[in-house]
Homo-oligomer: 168 residues x 2
Amino acid sequence: MSIDNEIQQHKWESFRQKAVVNTLFTCRAIETAGAAMLKEHDLSMPQYNILRILRGQKGKPASVKLLTERMLDKSSNASRLVDKLLEKNLVVRVTCPNDRRAVEVSLTPEGQAVLEKADADNARWLPHPKVFSEADAKLLSDLLDRLREAIRTNHPDFAKNREQGDIP
Amino acid sequence: MSIDNEIQQHKWESFRQKAVVNTLFTCRAIETAGAAMLKEHDLSMPQYNILRILRGQKGKPASVKLLTERMLDKSSNASRLVDKLLEKNLVVRVTCPNDRRAVEVSLTPEGQAVLEKADADNARWLPHPKVFSEADAKLLSDLLDRLREAIRTNHPDFAKNREQGDIP
DNA sequence: CGCCAATATATGTAGCTACATATATTATAT
DNA sequence: ATATAATATATGTAGCTACATATATTGGCG
């Protein structure tokens, strides 16, 4: 079903406006479906995101700072998310011996197990390539990259989170 | 900048996975920039969404039910959002005379004025067609429609919010 | 060494979604 | 007509982002 029907709006000011709104709308749809999938593993999407980043460290622990940098939501509160994962015994957190300000977070065996199970569901949950081809997916991803760039650079008045060197 | 650099992930399981993650990531970027723009008008995106739906009623009031149906976030809490708008005197809310369960929400002149100012900024904030063409925007929007559909239909196990007639 | 800025994390608050439940009102069935 | 189901809204709670601020620790400079 197209977005026109789903939010009962059939007149758009431009396709650019429609594309922006559709990105937000599709994001919600993905989150809703993804959250339902992860709920079976008692995980939220940001928590799952953290577990995956930790695995990407291949044994090395990750600081909260590193987690924040790599998370999808940069201003997510990795500190409190780690708290939640700690309560479930999916991660351990120890003070970094070299820098007592920092903290070293790493997966527990239980955390690895949960992650693997969630990954299996996640793979099943993604669109099948016959329904949404890899070529279309690449095209979509590239268009999204360009849309972000356009929003960032086109109207510096409102563009926060600029790159270094932009107008201050 | 491509998503690969922005979240420091360069290995993807598939372009489908990358497209899904990029949709979430781009959604955040849009929300961050949009929120910054709307903040100057003391509005949040859901509040702005409601004001626009109310204007779309062309004078007719809208019930909370209608607002919920047309909002981008279906499970947003229109009731509480209307509360916020009420406090700012941007809308009025009166019990519906025909159905005393329902409520009629409509814009105040002040609400209309705020909406017009926000709209002006919103138009400036959207990507310029020379930076992101209307054709690309249409292509993007269509791909997003198809991605949602693929996620909804491809794996009924996790697909919530199904259309009527789907597998129960 | 002692002071101060920078860094890493934690905490507090407001606004949001998601989901469950409560309340008031209307429609329906017997 | 009364009980019950359905509807429309409101309220409560948990988890999230966004932003501001607090705390602890480190590094650098005099």
